[in-house]
């Protein structure tokens, strides 16, 4: 295959709903999945709030886009790096986040977690390993 495969990282540092960046970031990721690149998503700082479970936007009148995260696996977006320090500062644990899984085609379609908890130093390594970084 002669096509370029680049490492794309989508960096999410903002909370959902107060601004649209989280939602429009997800829209790029879904479209981008068709391009067969090596895609990762990073959630740090207030970006970790995007992944909380139990979001219910009925009363504010905005669209709840959080279920889309659970569909990412179907688009082969399976690497969601979440920063431990960002969670801890916000009083959150992995338990507070949605359960996001993908089916691993190399392992008899076993269901595996898409969320990868990483330290701040590991997050820095993930970032330093990319070709293209899109920030929202």
């Amino acid at each position: 295959m002669s096509e370029t495969v680049k490492k794309f990282l989508y960096v999410n540092r903002k909370a959902p709903y107060g601004t649209i960046y989280a939602q429009e970031s997800l829209e790029v990721v879904l479209i981008g999945a068709a391009f067969d690149q090596d895609v990762s998503m990073a959630f740090l700082d207030d970006g970790v709030f995007q992944l909380t479970k139990g979001q219910d936007t009925k009363e504010i009148g905005l669209k709840n886009f959080s279920p889309t995260f659970r569909a990412l696996g179907d688009f082969e977006v399976t690497k969601l790096y979440v920063e431990k320090e960002s969670l801890a500062e916000r009083g959150l644990t992995l338990e507070d986040l949605q359960n996001i899984e993908y089916e691993d085609e190399d392992d008899d379609w076993a269901e595996k977690p898409s969320i990868r908890l990483v330290s701040r130093a590991e997050m820095a390594d993930v970032m330093a390993d990319q070709d293209v970084i899109l920030s929202f």
Binding site: G18, I20, I60, G61, L62, K63
Partner: protein, 130 residues
């Protein structure tokens, strides 16, 4: 009680115009009056009739237009902020030699004096922004 409302951010990008709308609806439902809603800064972009959000999303401009119709609200778009950002009514478009306009039904374009006047006339002024 008479409320004046300031909206400083555009639709969809910031929640400000949604919160302002929900506040306005609740105030009216609670028997209060709204003397004016003033759209400033990027808030002027709320008043475009050309917006086409996805089917499953709210149409922010239409929500305001409907609320204004139902309660006879005065929705004022700041002219100076609007000109910078390309929000025009028919008069302004003609005057400025532009070949199109995009203001929605229920909104009107006027000067910053309307903001001060609202602050004077309203019992409470509440600002929604970024």
């Amino acid at each position: 009680m008479k409320f004046g409302i300031v909206v400083n951010e555009g639709p969809y990008t910031h929640q400000a115009s949604d919160t302002a709308y929900n506040f306005a609806k609740a105030a009216l439902a609670g028997g209060h009056d709204i003397s004016r809603v003033f759209f400033y800064h990027d808030g002027v972009n709320v008043g475009t009739r050309l917006s086409i959000p996805p089917q499953d999303d709210r149409q922010i401009q239409e929500q305001w237009t409907a609320l204004a119709k139902e309660h006879d609200l005065d929705l004022v778009i700041c002219i100076a902020a609007a000109q910078r950002r390309g929000l025009l009514d028919e008069n302004e478009a003609t005057r400025q030699g532009k070949d199109a306009n995009n203001i929605a039904d229920g909104f009107r374009i006027s000067g910053l004096g309307q903001l001060i006047e609202m602050g004077i006339q309203a019992d409470r002024t509440v600002t929604f922004g970024d």
